[in-house]
């Protein structure tokens, strides 16, 4: 197990290096640069800027400087937030996104497992139909609609109560996290419901379930001891990447609910071509993703005794 983990981690480092290099090349191949702005600057001012930010050097030189700094753990200073180090940006804002993301995944997982199991157990009856209808709605309606609707509902509720009881935007307390994480987790919840449903449906007819029923075990016991453990495997497979995706992909939710998370920086950095932030967040995100995948694979091995790793 230990050897496996180490092997995976080493492979992960190489993957992250590839990600960094590919992103660097892509970033510099796209037209535009971080110094361009709506109000054009004169040639000499532009030269000053280039010297200051090291953009006057050749691309390979910039690459080596970047790699050297990255190995030392320094991602440089942001172009758009001109006094903030990228490290500080990640350090200040990632925990926010992570909290939001983990809470969202928590809701999604609980919801997905429960609804999915319900639809499988009550197949073709009313709960199944209602839940599947909601799932379709959940995946065909885009996330920004849900975010807008979610915030609007909060405003209406507050109006009904006459005072601002639930915060409609911002960050700081648990109450601030509730609705945004629900909205963020909706898409994943729908996916997990569907996955859970299909894998439960397969299992529900397996022989060992019939045996358990014949033995007289209660349905709840069967569910927890047998069905859940087997059905949850596809759910686990997507959970890793989904956590990573949600944590850094909460752009819309962060925008609508004014949450100071990393997702906003990630997207805006590309639009602003903020080289240092792009590199820093991409490498960070890549490392996080790789780590999550490794974690999930290890857990997978524990959950399913049939799948033994190497």
């Amino acid at each position: 197990m230990l050897a496996y983990t180490i092997k995976r981690l080493l492979a992960g480092v190489i993957t992250v290096w590839f990600i960094a290099t590919a992103t660097f090349i892509a970033m510099h191949s796209v037209p535009g640069d971080p110094l361009m702005n709506d109000k054009a600057v004169t040639e000499e001012i532009r030269k000053n800027l280039e010297v200051k930010y090291g953009l006057d050097k050749s691309k390979p030189e910039q690459y080596f400087i970047f790699m050297k700094n990255m190995l030392a753990g320094d991602f440089g200073i942001s172009f758009t937030q001109q006094n903030r180090k990228v490290n500080d940006i990640i350090r200040d804002h990632f925990p926010v996104s992570a909290t939001l993301g983990l809470l969202a995944v928590f809701f999604a997982a609980i919801g997905g497992i429960v609804w999915g199991a319900l639809t499988a157990l009550y197949r073709n009856r009313l709960p199944d139909i209602i839940i599947m209808f909601l799932v379709i709605l959940g995946i065909s309606v885009p996330s920004f609609v849900f975010a807008a609707l979610g915030q609007l509902s909060l405003v209406k509720i507050n109006q009904l109560l006459g005072a601002s009881v639930i915060p409609v935007a911002g960050w700081g307390t648990f109450a601030h996290m509730l609705v945004p994480s629900l909205v963020l987790g909706l898409g994943t919840m729908a996916l997990l419901t569907r996955l859970m449903r299909s894998s439960m449906l397969e299992i529900v007819n397996e022989d060992y379930i019939k045996t358990a029923k014949a033995k007289g075990l209660s349905p709840l016991r069967i569910f927890f001891k047998h069905q859940l453990r087997n059905a949850i495997l596809p759910v686990l497979t997507v959970l890793g990447p989904q956590i990573a995706a949600i944590t850094t992909g909460g752009f819309v939710v962060e925008l609508v609910f004014a949450i100071p998370g990393l997702g906003r920086y990630f997207v805006q950095a590309v639009q602003q071509l903020d080289y240092t932030v792009i590199m820093g967040t991409t490498v960070f995100y890549g490392a996080f993703l790789v780590f999550m995948v490794i974690l999930v694979d290890i857990i997978y091995g524990f959950v399913d005794p049939r799948v033994r790793l190497q």
């Binding site: 569907r194 299909s198 990447p241 890549g286």
Partner: protein, 477 residues
């Protein structure tokens, strides 16, 4: 079924314990129906499945809508009708014909001061607020009597009767002179009731009194507009005040007055193409990729999966911009094919992961070992045994891939890669419709509805296919 065992009447007689061999040969197993392969059997089940049938009808309906629709409803989806912006679905409307709109100079009194001699407190609202002529959607002209001590007048417009000084509605503008006692409103005037309010100002601050007038402009159209829209021709004999039928928009219009139905039809082409072909392609690719990885395991699996991780971690937007340049999409051209390629190139890892996970699970099953002992080759095992058993997971991903592709396409069009304006797609129509979600919901509801229908069709198809194809479910007769 056709077996029947005729018992010798004698053997039912309990008195006789004499067993004689029966004369009718008890049937050996007979073939009651032709032998079916897995796929043939699946096909029959599929045909019987109601869900699959419904989805089939939906798909046929959508195809007809996309291909035949434009022939039946020949309206140009790019034609802008600025007289009917954001109209909700309704019956055809008529409009009054007007020759043309001539700018109104307004009423500026000569014998009244523009600035007051002294600043009075609590200036009253103007008296005799009235329309200067018949209000139409081309212009609403109102006028009022001047107020002594006025330095100007602020004009407001609301869609309901104001309930107080804070409810006057939109501030249309301020006249900066006590002698300017008229206003012409042309700001997107629609054929509905408006309530205009005037507040007197001393040139700097507004007073707290106001007067309101209800105005109901008539829907009207000018000669120039009517000509461009094809509602009249150069030699039509038509006079001011006559009624003309405006173009009919059964699904309403969008924010630039374009017909929703025509746009939905044109949008269907792009959305359905991308929404079906792209997921199909990248799920296929993901199946084979993940299948091989999971089946062969070991170093191959490790390398393939690391590459998949690499693809997932790349910043999506950045690479999309890069692809756009790499594929050389010209300005204003619809790069549907490059977009398709880009979607496939970046979208397959999720399916690959899922399938690999399933395959890892399945390959330890007993029947795989058995088949291998019987001499089955690898590719036979994969195609004949493993993949059919991963159908459940595959179908789920396919179901989700469809709306994901449609919305990714909307996002790509938004950043300039994909369809260029004015070509619509359902996803981009949703993007635009969200802005007016509360005031003009039809702009969002219709494209979202069509996307939902497509998704529903795939969902039902997926369910039907699962029931037909999934071996474990089939054991339940």
């Amino acid at each position: 079924m056709s077996d029947s065992i005729l018992l010798n009447s004698k053997s039912t007689n309990t008195e006789s314990l004499d067993f004689t061999p029966s004369e009718i040969a008890l049937g050996v197993e007979q073939i009651t129906r032709p032998s079916l392969s897995y796929w043939e059997d699946a096909w029959i089940r599929l045909k019987k499945n109601t869900r699959a049938l419904i989805s089939l009808y939906i798909v046929i309906g959508l195809t007809l809508f996309t291909l035949i629709g434009p022939l039946l409803w020949q309206v140009d989806p790019a034609l802008q009708d600025l007289n009917q912006l954001s109209q909700a679905p309704s019956f055809p409307k008529t409009a009054i014909f007007i020759e043309e709109h001539i700018r109104w100079e307004g009423i500026i009194l000569e014998d009244f001061p523009a600035e007051p001699d002294e600043f009075l407190a609590n200036l009253p609202a103007p008296a005799n607020l009235r329309t200067a002529e018949t209000p139409t959607t081309q212009a609403v002209r109102i006028r009022w009597d001047p107020v002594v001590g006025a330095g100007g007048y602020a004009v407001y417009r609301n869609q309901h009767l104001p309930e107080g000084i804070n409810d006057l509605g939109l501030p249309l503008g301020t006249k900066l002179g006590g002698n300017e006692v008229s206003y012409e409103d042309r700001l997107n005037v629609e054929g509905r009731d408006y309530f205009y309010s005037i507040v007197t100002t001393d040139g700097y601050d507004e007073s707290d009194n106001y007067v309101t007038l209800k105005v109901s402009p008539e829907l009207s159209i000018t000669r120039a507009d009517a000509l461009v829209r094809g509602l009249i021709t150069e030699d039509s004999v038509i006079a001011n005040g006559d009624e003309i039928n405006l173009a009919f928009h059964p699904f309403g219009t969008d924010y630039l007055g374009r017909d929703m139905l025509a746009r939905l039809m044109e949008g269907a082409r792009v959305s359905l193409f991308i929404g079906i072909v792209a997921p199909f392609l990248y799920v296929m690719f993901g199946i084979f990729y993940g299948g091989f990885a999971g089946y062969f395991g070991g170093k191959l699996d490790a390398m393939l999966m690391r590459f998949a991780d690499f693809v997932v971690a790349l910043p999506f937007l950045l690479f999309m911009i890069l692809f756009k340049i790499a594929f050389g999409i010209g300005p204003g051209e619809s790069g549907v094919l490059p977009m398709l390629i880009a979607l496939v190139l970046l979208g397959w890892p999720a399916t690959a992961r899922l399938v690999r996970g399933q395959v890892l699970q399945i390959r330890t099953q007993g029947y795989i070992e058995a088949a291998r002992l019987l001499g089955a080759k690898d590719h036979y095992l994969i195609i004949r045994h493993i993949i059919p058993n991963t159908m459940g997971v595959i179908l789920v991903t396919l179901t989700f891939a469809v709306p994901a592709a449609i919305f990714t396409e909307a996002f790509l069009s938004f950043i300039g890669m994909g369809v260029a304006p004015p070509t619509p797609s359902w996803g981009s129509m949703c993007n635009e419709g969200v802005k007016t979600m509360l005031s003009h919901p039809h702009e969002l509801i219709f494209p979202a509805l069509f996307i939902s229908i497509t998704v529903l069709a795939f969902n039902l198809l997926g369910d039907g296919l699962t029931e037909a194809l999934d071996s474990r479910m089939r054991s339940r007769e």
